[in-house]
Symmetry: C2
Subunit: 322 residues, 2 copies
């Protein structure tokens, strides 16, 4: 159905050998500028581009990195943007996968053994890290999540100190009942946040942090929180979320119910994402942009035995107005 001209056609047309053609297309080896020109012309004329798949097979690499996420959420788009642009500037492509379920995630990880993917970046995962870790025998894997005791590269940011500071800040502003919406409890930074609350509560008996919810996925999480919050007798006057998006859903749902934000409920998100900016939600920059870059840098270094330096990650409050 579609066009196919190969290195062999160019060889035949110009009378040179395939190797010589290969030398000019790949740039490795010597070719007299005179013959090079003839070959270039022939390529032009026959509209030839080298078959990249054949190159990949020959070179045992595809210059392609898998970008895995369990499902879609808005920050993912922003993350892909950074990661992909970084990768592109080093000549790597990014194939995006929504893993959806444990079995499918494993199937996709197999692509590391398949030689289809040179490496993988994991945004959100489904299987246990140990299982995922077993694929590092085939290719390097990186994530932005906090993971320990594996060969998976993780340039995480510890949420504990900042979370503790937020609690202090809220306390000093007079918020006594503070609600918390977390990601899954199995995540290390969820544990860190809970630990911060525990430690803080010991010092400040008056403050109540018992209102806690956990969510495995972001879609409609905020709406669910809103329903629960509205049904509550003794409503928390401040709520801290593990994601700007979920915070935004929450705010949106509250406003539809004539609840005023931030007056009736002060909301803090996480991630410093576009939504937080647009809706003017106080948030915390946990440096996902640097994390995306560093994730790629690690993979690149592994793949090419290089030592590109990592970019710094300094988390920051984006307390738009507190």
């Amino acid at each position: 159905m579609f066009n196919i001209t190969t290195i062999y056609d160019i060889a035949k047309k110009t009378g040179f050998s395939k190797s010589t053609i290969s030398r000019v297309t790949s740039g490795n080896g010597y070719v007299s500028s005179e013959k090079r020109q003839i070959i270039l012309n022939a390529m032009q004329e026959l509209n030839y581009t080298p078959n990249q798949v054949a190159k990949n097979l020959r070179n045992c690499k595809t210059q392609t990195i898998g970008f895995l996420s369990a499902d879609y959420f808005p920050l993912m788009g922003e993350f892909i943007n950074i990661f992909n642009s970084m990768a592109a500037s080093y000549n790597y492509n990014t194939t995006v996968f929504f893993t959806k379920n444990a079995k499918n995630e494993q199937k996709i990880l197999e692509s590391l053994a398949n030689h289809l993917l040179d490496a993988a970046f994991i945004l959100t995962r489904i299987n246990e890290w140990d299982l995922i870790n077993s694929y590092t025998q085939f290719a390097p894997i990186a994530t932005w999540q906090r993971v320990k005791n594996t060969n998976i590269y993780s340039n995480y940011v510890d949420h504990y100190p900042i979370y503790f500071k937020i609690l202090e800040k809220l306390y000093n502003k007079g918020f006594e009942r503070v609600g918390h919406v977390f990601s899954l409890e199995r995540n290390e930074n969820t544990k860190a946040r809970i630990q911060a609350i525990k430690d803080f509560s010991l010092q400040h008996q008056a403050s109540d942090h018992s209102y806690q919810l956990f969510y495995g996925q972001q879609s409609h999480a905020g709406q669910d929180v809103a329903q629960k919050w509205l049904a509550q007798k003794n409503r928390p006057t401040a709520m801290i979320f593990y994601s700007d998006y979920v915070a935004a859903q929450f705010i949106s749902a509250l406003r539809l119910n004539q609840v005023k934000v931030p007056e009736d409920c002060f909301v803090i998100g996480s991630d410093d994402s576009e939504i937080a900016r647009l809706m003017n939600i106080p948030t915390v920059d946990f440096c996902f942009r640097s994390q995306a870059k560093n994730g790629f840098i690690y993979l690149y270094n592994q793949l090419n035995q290089k030592n590109l330096p990592f970019v710094p990650q300094v988390p920051k409050f984006i307390y738009q107005k507190i």
Copy 2:
């Protein structure tokens, strides 16, 4: 550095030929269930998965579709989500490219000739359609944009009738000065919108639609519009945008300047995106979700000589409150 076991290893271990191994992995051809079992066990034991790149070379296809966008904007994430999930369910991978500039876009389109990509979907483009069209000689290309006189599949929605209706609605509600923020003028649906304004103005001399702005990219477009709007003596009391995101930027910027939305300026977006929902912005569903699906369906049908039916596309007002 990393593991490699090939079909040859399995052949050697089991004593069968490569062809027989191939028959069990690919599922084509006959193998006695007895021998099949032995081979399966050996594969298991040696942790073997067929090299997908070799398969791709042999089969002259990669089951991979390129998803091209000039740059990132929030709707893109939602679009990828739909497109990618659709593709995955038919066993196609999606590689995302930010084309960034004309030259790079062309380089990426070359991948269709390279055999790296089986097909391409174009979200936003840089080069002229004619240039892009020339790549349909290598592989099928689809887009959601309105494009004519090419081999590029386009399941666009005509903005004219809905835009006209919006103008009527605004007019009936008493809005006399209405501002318009468009995408680039070269786009067919920008032309359609302008035509709708022209035709409407002929019938309604009183209404003023002279306030018009054009943007090639979304990042900071809304902030720019806001600056201009604020500087305006005779401010439009309603503004219609070509994108929810740009509308959201505009609203956000106005609110930072103590302008009330929708009281001081009634804003309408386009796309029925997540942001419109979260910020409660009136918008128009131009069916990007169906467009994403239909785009894939076209490519799939082309690639596999199939006839999967397209899904319906019925644009709808999402006038949250007018």
